[in-house]
């Protein structure tokens, strides 16, 4: 292959390095209005009145609007319809939007917003999800505060634990993680022609935004146009909540009949936008003396916040990955996504797995300790292979490189040489290594099957250049480039002449959301489908022009159709395309791809949950100062079996970026929330990794166990790189110091205080 598998330079890099790439705040209009949002000051209030008088009296203020001004439906179209665009009788979390202000400048809009007086009655609020689960608790959602629950009943759990010689059980907890995309949320909405509306903005899923804008305005979806601007980071944080921001902007554009820009301040973004669910995991492993795990039992609770948003699906993914990448005959899981009076949690890279992965991979090491085994050996002994049975009873197929990834990563990290028991280490500053592994189901899985489709348009122009239109978006991960490579390879047209067009819902088909590491597989396959149809039309013309008969082999190479038997016989693709045009051969096509066959039984929790899995292992080497608790991460080796690498440089970028987000999750990022109010809603207090907090080089290891379903065998890579970091680091810290911290993030305070407790 000439294009797929090569580190070709990304399509959008030039605009980005010159500052020419336009993000939403770079857009402007002559008659632009600016918006600001009035938010609930407290976690649970009954709204008595909204007094706009003082705000309206300020200069430059166009208007102040509430839910009463919404012409359409006040419910944001998420999985459930419980989240209003603007609060009506009550607000359920501090930061919930209540009113909107439009003014002629950002400062004036913000000032006016601060002058809108909300008269309210403060009501008692519930902050602890475990409390919320109790039958006697106050009810925020439904009859039991449970947005969704799942169960898995594989095998016979009592028998499994009876067979075990050693049983370990622990409880682990994890805090919120904030996406920290460097570009805050933002939208610009303007009235279009004939009652239509156009919304530009920062987003992952333009068709979700389309649904929301049509809903809030009560207009047909055909009159809504959504255009994704260059998006400055997302990681799941711009999957569903942009629907709220866009709905607000569109509402103001509709009401004022002017273009309206709504850009969140960093604090506002912290206070109101989605985050990784805090997690509570109680988990038990039972194993025989030789290390074979016979049973696993998990109770997993996610703190969903005030509205359901994506909690049901986050919970599902976490549940069906909760026992780790191991072949365990008996697994029982009970999981719950629970309502509390806090900002709603949502999608974040890993989507329910990082929390439970921290738990299960830490416990594997604690089990190894009990057994007196090297944690690598324990993992290798239980790792799933082709033919193994997953947690949901699915048989693992050919595309499984877990053992190779574990072994390669361990070798690169000098595991065997470096690993020694923590008791042997001395001194204030100590070194340690740790590892963690994961399995990751690619794409939406059985519970998301209704969304699992993709359409792509491929169009060849008269000069042989190509545009590809898909509904999935570029958000920095490199989708535009990877998909161009796939189309280029399939058509035999040079990479420089193939481009993925801007994400504009009037020009692109809906290919499902840009989530779940599904873009390469789903859009890639839809593109291949389209290209296959085009080649069926183009190839006969090429053969004719080359004088090659049907049975003779012909290939494409470097922009030419070439006879394999006689390579001197070749013709430029452009020439063939010109001929196709003159013969009125249709040169644009729609490709489609859909997944069948995934299953999940809600009663038993069993089924073929995903059509493909990515397997990963991370090794962390740390140095810990036990006097100050400071952790220095010396090495991170991160290995993944992703089936087939389309662009190695971009794949490495995902691996490295995900590892550092995972490092932040594991060691630094501590959102402090007290009674529903965030105390550090900014980058000063919420600590993300700088260049000095990471090793000089995050070392990627890639294995390619091609997957039948994926384009050229490719699987998904967006999320796996984050998942193993926190447990690998926690395990490394334990290995260095003998201190086990079971609550993320593992900040120095916890290490030092645990060390003091031991003395």
């Amino acid at each position: 292959m000439e294009i797929v598998g090569k580190s070709l330079p990304r399509k959008d890099a030039l605009d980005k390095v010159t500052g020419r790439a336009r993000f939403i705040d770079d857009y402007t209009r002559k008659d632009l209005l600016h918006a600001s949002t009035v938010r609930s000051p407290k976690p649970h209030i009954r709204i008595i009145s909204v007094d706009k008088k003082e705000a309206l009296s300020l200069p430059g203020v166009f208007g102040v609007y509430t839910h009463k001004d919404i012409p359409g439906d006040n419910r944001v179209p998420f999985v459930f319809q419980d989240y209003p665009f603007l609060a009506e009788k009550d607000a359920l979390f501090a930061g919930q939007p209540i009113a909107l202000v439009a003014a002629d400048s950002r400062e004036r809009a913000q000032e006016a917003a601060s002058k809108v007086k909300i008269k309210y009655e403060e009501l008692p609020a519930l902050f602890d999800p475990l409390e919320a689960l109790k039958p006697e608790s106050r009810k925020i959602y439904g009859k039991d505060n449970i947005f969704r629950s799942y169960r898995i009943r594989k095998g016979n759990i009592n028998k499994g634990f009876d067979e075990a010689d050693v049983i370990v059980g622990r409880t682990y907890t994890t805090n919120y993680q904030v996406h920290g995309y460097l570009e805050p949320q933002g939208m610009l909405a303007e009235p279009g022609n004939e009652g239509s509306v156009v919304v530009y903005g920062s987003m992952q899923c333009p068709f979700y935004v389309l649904d929301a804008v049509a809903a809030v305005l009560g207009i047909p979806q055909s009159r809504v146009r959504i255009v994704q601007a260059t998006t400055g980071g997302a990681f799941g944080g711009k999957e569903d909540v942009p629907s709220i921001v866009a709905g607000h902007a569109a509402l103001l554009a509709y009401l004022t009949k002017r273009p309206v820009k709504l850009i969140y301040s960093r604090e506002e973004d912290f206070q109101s936008m989605s985050k990784r669910h805090p997690g509570w995991v109680n988990i038990r492993y039972g194993a025989r003396r030789d290390g074979k795990i016979t049973a696993c039992q998990v109770k997993y609770v996610l703190d969903g916040g005030a509205f359901s948003t994506l909690s049901p699906i986050v919970l599902w993914r976490g549940t069906v990955h909760s026992a780790g990448p191991y072949d365990i005959p008996n697994v029982f899981v009970d999981s719950y996504a629970v309502a509390t009076h806090k900002v709603p949690s949502g999608a974040y890279r890993g989507f329910g797995q990082p929390q439970v992965s921290f738990a299960n991979e830490s416990l594997i090491d604690e089990l190894a300790s009990e057994l007196g085994m090297d944690p690598l050996d324990l993992r290798l002994k239980n790792a799933v292979k082709t033919g193994s049975s997953t947690i949901t009873g699915q048989t693992v197929g050919e595309s499984c490189g877990l053992t190779e990834v574990m072994t390669k990563v361990a070798k690169k990290g000098f595991w065997k040489k470096s690993w020694s028991q923590p008791e042997k280490k001395k001194g204030t500053v100590r070194r340690g290594i740790g590892m963690a592994s994961s399995i990751y189901g690619v794409a939406l899985g059985a519970e998301g099957q209704f969304l699992e489709k993709s359409t792509a348009h491929v169009q060849i122009y008269k000069d042989g250049s190509v545009t590809v239109a898909v509904g999935n978006t570029e958000m920095g991960q490199g989708a535009k480039t990877v998909l161009s490579q796939i189309a280029s390879e399939a058509l035999g047209i040079n990479f420089e002449k193939v481009d993925v067009i801007e994400s504009d819902t009037t020009r692109i088909p809906d290919s499902g959301p840009t989530v779940a590491s599904r873009t390469t597989v789903m859009c890639g396959n839809a593109i291949l489908d389209g290209c296959r149809i085009l080649r069926e039309r183009i190839d006969p013309v090429a053969r004719e022009l080359l004088g090659i008969r049907f049975r003779e082999k012909m290939k494409t190479s470097q922009g030419f159709f070439v006879s394999e038997k006689n390579p001197k016989k070749k013709i430029a693709v452009e020439e063939v395309i010109k001929k196709c045009y003159s013969r009125r051969v249709p040169m644009s096509v729609q490709g489609f791809f859909r997944v069948e066959g995934t299953t999940f039984d809600r009663e038993t929790g069993l089924g073929d949950a995903y059509f493909a899995y990515t397997f990963s292992t991370m090794l962390a080497e740390v140095e810990v100062n036990t006097g100050t608790g400071e952790v220095t991460v010396l090495r991170l080796v991160s290995g993944h079996d992703i089936g087939k690498v389309v662009n190695p440089q971009l794949a490495e970028g995902q691996i490295q970026g995900g590892a550092v987000q995972g490092l932040g999750y594991g060691l630094l990022e501590n959102l402090v929330m007290e009674k529903g109010i965030i105390l550090n809603p900014n980058f000063t207090g919420y600590i993300m990794p700088t260049s000095m907090d990471v090793p000089d080089e995050i070392e990627p290891v890639i294995a390619e166990y091609g997957c039948k379903v994926g384009p050229y065998g490719a699987k998904g890579l967006g999320e796996p790189p984050l998942i193993c970091a926190a447990p690998a680091l926690a395990n490394a810290i334990f290995n260095a110091t003998g201190i086990r911290v079971r609550d993320l993030p593992v900040i120095p305070e916890k290490i030092v205080l645990e060390e003091l407790r031991k003395k």
Binding site: T18, E183, L650, E652, S691, D696, E697
Partner: protein, 157 residues
């Protein structure tokens, strides 16, 4: 207040409240939107510009303090279609993902390479420690700066 300074090599003047941030003046009055606002408090580096050659957070500089100084933004770095070697290195090494941190990151790197011919990895990490990147994990950015150092050294010979 009238504020006169040199912007990307040209003498300019802005008529504005001197307490408006330099960032806003650059983006709104001069329509140079390459410099970004990520946090508004000097905590992320997305707004980095070079002020008299030194990297600063323009979001917390009152425009009045630009008077008499030289300001370089990302737009001032490339000449037409000719990229600065640092920009070329960032593309070649795959150091760009979402792009939001890049203008600030490139300028911080330029300031380092203007002073040091052959910076160590440690020097590079320190020079960009005020530029947060959430996408890349920094590895390829460090490699790009090292590559750029090589390119610039080659040019000098």
């Amino acid at each position: 207040m009238k504020i006169e300074f040199v912007l990307n090599g040209k003498e300019v003047s802005a008529e504005t409240d001197p307490r408006r941030s330099l960032l806003r003046v650059l983006r709104e009055d001069f329509c140079l939107t390459g410099t970004k606002e990520g946090c508004g408090k000097g905590e992320c580096g997305a707004c980095t510009v070079l002020l008299d050659g030194e990297p600063v957070n323009s979001c917390i500089i009152p425009a009045g303090q630009a008077a008499g100084k030289t300001v370089l933004t990302i737009e001032g770095l490339s000449r037409g279609n000719r990229l600065h070697p640092i920009q070329a290195a960032f593309i070649e090494e795959g150091a760009v993902q979402c792009g939001f941190c890049i203008p600030g990151m490139v300028l911080s790197a330029k300031s380092l390479l203007d002073k040091q011919n052959d910076p160590s990895i440690k020097d590079i990490k320190k020079a960009i420690s005020g530029n947060i990147c959430r996408c890349t994990g920094y590895t390829k950015i460090i490699q790009a700066v090292k590559k750029a150092a090589g390119k610039l050294a080659g040019k000098k010979r």
